[in-house]
């Protein structure tokens, strides 16, 4: 039995401690907003927050979460930064197919929470590990800057 805080609510799941958090979120808690991409922490589709820091949930054993708060795409809108990022994404129609975008939004929200005015180099350093097959990178960059301006 593993207990943890997900999107401000305590939850308990009966799984082995080495089960990846992504499996717990999607298969046991039914939160399918977080996507499975590569399964080896190389694409960023599974990005969630642990105490506000962007983490790849496909490689995170649920037993390692401990008392750190988990936040997913389902709950990011309830944080001020997350809400701004989502609004910027809507304003600019950032999304194309959308598969990578929950990961992109989570990575962008974590970046802005740590660095409210990132320059292009900061955005590259934080976002380069989040891959978008549709190539929406230019709009992602604009979206981050728009969310920063509206802070």
């Amino acid at each position: 039995m593993v207990s943890m805080r997900v999107n401000d609510e305590m939850t308990e799941v009966a799984v082995d401690a080495d089960t990846p958090l992504l499996w717990v979120l999607r298969d046991l808690l039914g939160m399918t907003g977080t996507k499975f991409g590569c399964g080896i922490a190389q694409c960023g589709a599974c990005t969630v927050h642990l105490d506000g820091v962007a983490v790849r949930s496909c490689r995170l054993p649920v037993g390692e979460v401990g008392d750190r708060a988990v936040r997913t795409i389902e709950g990011v809108g309830s944080t001020p930064v997350g809400a701004r990022v989502q609004q910027a994404w809507l304003d600019l129609d950032v999304i194309q197919c959308g598969y990578c975008q929950s990961g992109q939004i989570m990575a962008a929200a974590a970046l802005l929470a740590a660095n409210p005015e990132p320059d292009d180099a900061d955005i590259d350093a934080a976002m380069a590990g989040n891959i978008c097959r549709c190539g929406t990178y230019v709009r992602i960059r604009d979206g981050i800057k728009r969310a920063a301006q509206h802070g």
Partner: protein
């Protein structure tokens, strides 16, 4: 005698003395336990708990289980199984400076394996490095260490090996050229460098220490990789455990030196590293050591791990240039790192940062930490580049995992990201070239 002639004679004498001392030091090396002092006695005379055989946890196990345990402690499987091959059927290549040698089939197949060998022949091979037909074996087979194993333990291993599935697979000839293809030369090598004695415990030391010594020196044959080699390819026991090489990877200094070795590791760190392949803040076992952990040390009982730790912590410190003092923490901000390698930085941000983090402290799990890791603080960056090429573990299993980037990036790219990693997180920036990486790909 003219002064001129006298000078020549003095010079000649000096050269002769130098040559004798040089040869003496080359040919006569301290024994494995010489550093410990005290008196080495026969096993039968040692006053204390049993040192050889299986640990107390297996006291009531059957002979095959015991033989399997000892075959794991001696890690036969690592070398005698080829990549993707059948267990113990051999064929794994070892690239040495003089050519490539392939491990032989040690399954019970009577024609191609060792099924037809007598016990005496098996003992002679393991203790003396002599093959079935009387041919001398190359010390790539670590008989200079295995010679310390008791007859009973060697035969218990034999007993286990006779129960594994027989595989019909011919041995591959080695590619050594003259003079290295002259097997009889190994008889001379063995005379000097194979002690050909069974383990003799140190009377003044505890049973746990002596058990650890038996496991590290005889079974684990740790020194075969971790002790530097002399010109004669013998383990240079004057610099015991000060670091060596294995298949393109550096086997680091495991002496008690606090800066170069593992003197600063706690017993818990060491036990965790041997049992799980990872010690918090110290790094993960990678390359051949990851194999040694997976196939050998992780399968050993807690009492045996504790014994090895006790023994390893008594190895005298030797400082080595290749293992300098490690760098401290790295900056958490991306832009604060080295600025002279934009290509390496670009690769790091796309492929590495999401797990290792810009701080190098690990973003997802603690085993991803780069700072405080010996490989990252090694200015040759051999293990960093080998790790990037080969990765570790598998995503389907728990434990350390890193994908292989062999197919994804060019030699140039792998060199630049390895150099970025050592510059950002290590003690001294490396200068790995694309040509170096090309060679590493072939290891």
């Amino acid at each position: 005698m003219t002064p001129r002639r006298r000078n020549w004679m003095l010079l000649g004498a000096a050269v002769l003395i130098f040559a004798v001392v040089f040869a003496w030091r080359l040919l006569f090396l301290p024994s494995a336990l010489a550093f410990a002092g005290g008196h080495q006695v026969d096993l039968s005379q040692y006053q204390g708990a049993s040192i050889t055989g299986v640990p107390a946890e297996l006291a009531n196990a059957d002979p095959v289980t015991n033989g399997k345990y000892l075959a794991e402690a001696t890690d036969c499987a690592a070398c005698h199984t080829a990549k993707g091959g059948k267990p113990f059927a051999g064929g794994r290549p070892f690239k040495l400076p003089f050519g490539t040698i392939y491990t032989p089939n040690i399954t019970p197949d009577r024609e191609t394996g060792i099924g037809a060998w007598t016990n005496a022949e098996f003992l002679r091979a393991v203790h003396k490095g002599i093959g079935r037909a009387g041919e001398r074996l190359y010390p790539a087979f670590p008989y200079a260490s295995y010679t310390l194993l008791t007859d009973a333990d060697v035969l218990a291993i034999r007993g286990y090996l006779s129960t594994v599935p027989a595989v019909r697979q011919e041995n591959m000839p080695n590619s050594f050229g003259f003079p290295f293809n002259q097997r009889w030369l190994m008889a001379i090598w063995g005379t000097f460098f194979n002690p050909n004695t069974r383990f003799r415990p140190v009377a003044e030391r505890s049973a746990q220490w002596n058990r650890g010594a038996y496991l590290v020196e005889a079974a684990g044959h740790c020194g075969e990789c971790h002790t530097p080699r002399t010109l004669m390819q013998a383990m240079n026991t004057r610099r015991k455990f000060a670091g060596g090489q294995a298949e393109g990877w550096n086997a680091y200094n495991i002496t008690g030196d606090r800066l170069s070795g593992i003197g600063a590791w706690s017993p818990t760190d060491l036990a965790s590293y041997l049992a799980k392949g990872h010690a918090l803040g110290r790094g993960v076992a990678s390359g051949p050591m990851a194999e040694a952990v997976a196939l050998s040390t992780s399968r050993m009982t807690p009492t045996d791990i504790a014994a090895m730790v006790t023994y390893l912590r008594t190895i005298p410190p030797v400082s080595s240039k290749a293992s300098p003092a490690m760098a401290g923490p790295a900056p958490a901000v991306a832009s604060a790192g080295p600025s002279d390698n934009p290509g390496g930085k670009r690769l790091f941000e796309g492929a590495c940062a999401s797990c290792h983090a810009w701080s190098g402290r690990g973003a997802v799990t603690p085993d991803q930490q780069l700072t405080g890791n010996r490989a990252v603080n090694d200015a040759s960056a051999a293990n960093v580049a080998m790790m990037i090429l080969n990765g570790i573990g598998s995503p389907e299993h728990s434990g350390a995992f890193m994908p292989s980037f062999r197919a994804a990036y060019s030699d140039e790219e792998i060199a630049s990201v390895a150099n970025y990693v050592t510059a950002r997180f290590g003690a001294k920036p490396s200068r790995v070239s694309a040509a170096d990486v090309r060679k590493m790909r072939e290891e």
